[in-house]
């Protein structure tokens, strides 16, 4: 008897690479020019993708699709995920979503997820730009599903539940949750498998309808139109039946009042050498000022 197919959706976000801010991304004033940062697959969402692909292997009969909300170019991370093993993806895109805080983001994602009806939702723990780690739990609440955060390892996949090991500050916990549910995956979980050369050949022409429409006469557009597996689903707000009041800026209780760029300026440090006299003077000074002792 064939088991029912397990449909998994990975939530993934395209983010500016805030981790390695190079000199070229700095303004003359010493602040970060965010638009100069490369757009990447949010690191913990790659851990989430790996966990989803692993669960697909455990289940046998399962699919993994990526859902991302973002601008048109966010389709890049869906293709990236397909190169690594995902079956396809959904891009949720439109002006209505602009200015979303985490609540409006999770509301929009939950509308799309209601339409997809997955058996399991796998998110990253945290995005490296907004840095809140709030979207996963908020999506779970909006869908009325249980959640397991900080997932590190799948201990067992059962017919109607999943057993997961989670990483806490000072240890680990193993929990069992009924399906459907939401997992958020920790950076300590296994790294994502690399892109597979055969899959890159197969999926490099995967396009969204907007991308096809933007360059209809290209070879890529022709192929994507012919082959269903090369079509990335694209939804605008109206496609997921939202309450417009809960989207974007209007649906966001938090408002950014002010943003200050952190200025990396050289506060003049006193320069010392390793010479005995320098170190001796320093220790005397620290003792005299009661910083030490």
């Amino acid at each position: 008897m064939m088991k029912k197919q397990l449909n998994i959706v990975v939530l993934a976000k395209q983010v500016p690479d805030t981790r390695n801010v190079g000199k070229d991304a700095m303004t003359p004033e010493g602040t970060v020019n965010r638009s100069a940062l490369p757009a990447i697959f949010n690191p913990e969402d790659l851990n989430a993708l790996e966990m989803a692909l692993h669960i697909r292997e455990l289940a046998g009969n399962a699919t993994v699709r990526v859902l991302t909300m973002g601008p048109a170019r966010a389709a890049d991370i869906i293709r990236d995920a397909m190169f690594r093993g995902a079956d396809g993806g959904y891009l949720l895109s439109g002006r209505e979503f602009a200015g979303s805080d985490t609540l409006a983001t999770s509301y929009a994602l939950s509308c799309a997820l209601r339409k997809i009806q997955p058996d399991l939702i796998v998110a990253g723990r945290q995005a490296i730009d907004g840095d809140t780690a709030q979207v996963g739990p908020q999506v779970a609440e909006k869908l009325g599903l249980p959640q397991v955060t900080y997932a590190e390892e799948i201990v067992e996949l059962k017919e109607k539940s999943i057993v997961v090991k989670r990483r806490l500050d000072h240890g680990t916990e193993v929990v069992e949750s009924p399906l459907p549910m939401v997992l958020t995956v920790n950076a300590s979980a296994p790294e994502c498998r690399p892109k597979n050369a055969k899959r890159v050949m197969k999926y490099k022409f995967a396009l969204t309808p907007s991308e096809i429409a933007a360059a209809p006469d290209t070879e890529a557009a022709r192929r994507a139109t012919e082959k269903e597996y090369l079509q990335i689903t694209e939804w605008a707000a109206a496609d997921v039946n939202p309450d417009p009041q809960q989207l974007g800026l209007a649906g966001s209780p938090t408002k950014v009042k002010k943003i200050e760029n952190v200025v990396f300026q050289a506060k003049e440090a006193k320069k010392l050498t390793a010479a005995d006299c320098d170190i001796a003077d320093l220790m005397v000074e620290l003792i005299a000022s009661h910083t030490l002792g």
Binding site: Q134, P146, T149, S252, K255, E260, M283, I287, L292, G293
Partner: protein, 339 residues
């Protein structure tokens, strides 16, 4: 009504430091707003817990005491917190940005449709005018937090939804007993009204939690070692200096990843946040993820062979030299000059 709530987290039955830090801040906010400070404790065997909370300024201590609440599980905690907030309508609710707070505070905020600001480093009361409508608001909570990997600092307000919710990391706010103890009046939460059977669907099968032995957060002097220490054996030098100075040992992630020392000592974005009187960075380059956890130190000394190491930009004293040379000299001259 309109009071300040602080969620109290328990660690092995004791109140977590972060919750006492939040009570200290909550007391200050409640005084500014002329309202009460209310602590919310959800757990088991809570008799007497109000005494310590009163010392830190709690006027009221709300208690839900039952075995279903320990160890922490998301859904029953969320149900109790949401139910109590709807009943008492606080204007502010604060949570520790811990694995517990970051797990269930977003869920509470989602259910109540009230905003939540993550990892605040400052909380201040102030006024606000909506830039579009011009509508004025008084006495909002300014929730100030770093984002973009520490490259920007945002001030976030929550004008139209209550409560204004925020999480704060451990070690970021000061912990201080109130000038005089407050009433700490115990009130039972009628939690049976809020928790449904389906909230108990997730089962805890096993828990392996280590006792916290290392207390870098509370240390007034920290000697931290980085990848520049070279090896696990050489990392002993950091311990030796710390021992002589009566300091705690911290580390960068590169040092932890290389196996020089335990994860519990990691300082930075994915470790602990510290603000000691003195921070000595030995062979640490000073990447933003590290400095995010220590740049509030009152004084920073760096020891690095590279005079251009980024750590020197925030250091008060930059010693250009080899740790193998400088650390033994520091030990020698400290011993010679103390007492």
């Amino acid at each position: 009504m309109n009071n300040v709530f602080v969620y109290i987290e328990l660690e092995n039955g004791a109140v977590a430091d972060v919750s006492l830090e939040l009570l200290t801040k909550g007391r200050e906010l409640a005084d500014t707003l002329k309202v009460k400070l209310e602590a919310v404790v959800i757990g088991e065997n809570l008799a007497g817990i109000e005494k310590e909370l009163a010392k830190y300024g709690a006027d009221t201590v709300w208690v839900a005491d039952d075995k279903i609440f320990a160890p922490f599980r998301t859904l029953p905690h969320t149900a109790v917190m949401c139910g109590l907030i709807e009943q008492e309508k606080p204007q502010i609710a604060l949570f520790g940005a811990t694995p517990v707070g970051r797990d269930f505070a977003p869920r509470v905020s989602s259910a109540l449709h009230s905003g939540l600001t993550a990892d605040c480093t400052q909380l201040v009361i102030g006024d606000h005018a909506d830039p579009k409508t011009g509508k004025g608001y008084t006495n909002l909570l300014y929730q100030i937090r770093p984002a973009f990997g520490g490259n920007i600092i945002a001030t976030i307000v929550n004008p139209d939804h209550r409560p204004q919710m925020a999480t704060v990391r451990e070690g970021v706010m000061r912990k201080e007993e109130a000038a005089k103890p407050h009433a700490g009046e115990v009130r039972k939460i009628d939690w049976q009204k809020f928790v449904k059977d389906t909230d108990l669907a997730v089962k805890i099968i096993d828990r392996q939690i280590e006792e916290r032995k290392i207390n870098i957060k509370g240390a007034s002097v920290i000697v931290a070692g980085g990848y520049g220490m070279g090896s696990k054996e050489n990392f002993q030098l950091v311990h030796e200096l710390a021992e002589v100075l009566g300091a705690e040992v911290g580390a960068s992630r590169a040092a932890v990843d290389a196996g020089f020392t335990d994860h519990a000592r990691q300082i930075g974005q994915t470790g602990v946040t510290v603000r000691p009187k003195l921070y000595i960075a030995c062979g640490i380059s000073g990447q933003i993820q590290h400095t995010a956890g220590m740049d509030q130190s009152s004084m920073i000394i760096s020891i690095n062979t590279d005079p251009e190491a980024p750590i020197n930009k925030i250091a008060d004293y930059a010693i250009t030299g080899d740790v193998n040379d400088v650390i033994p000299k520091m030990i020698k001259y400290y011993k010679q000059n103390s007492k």
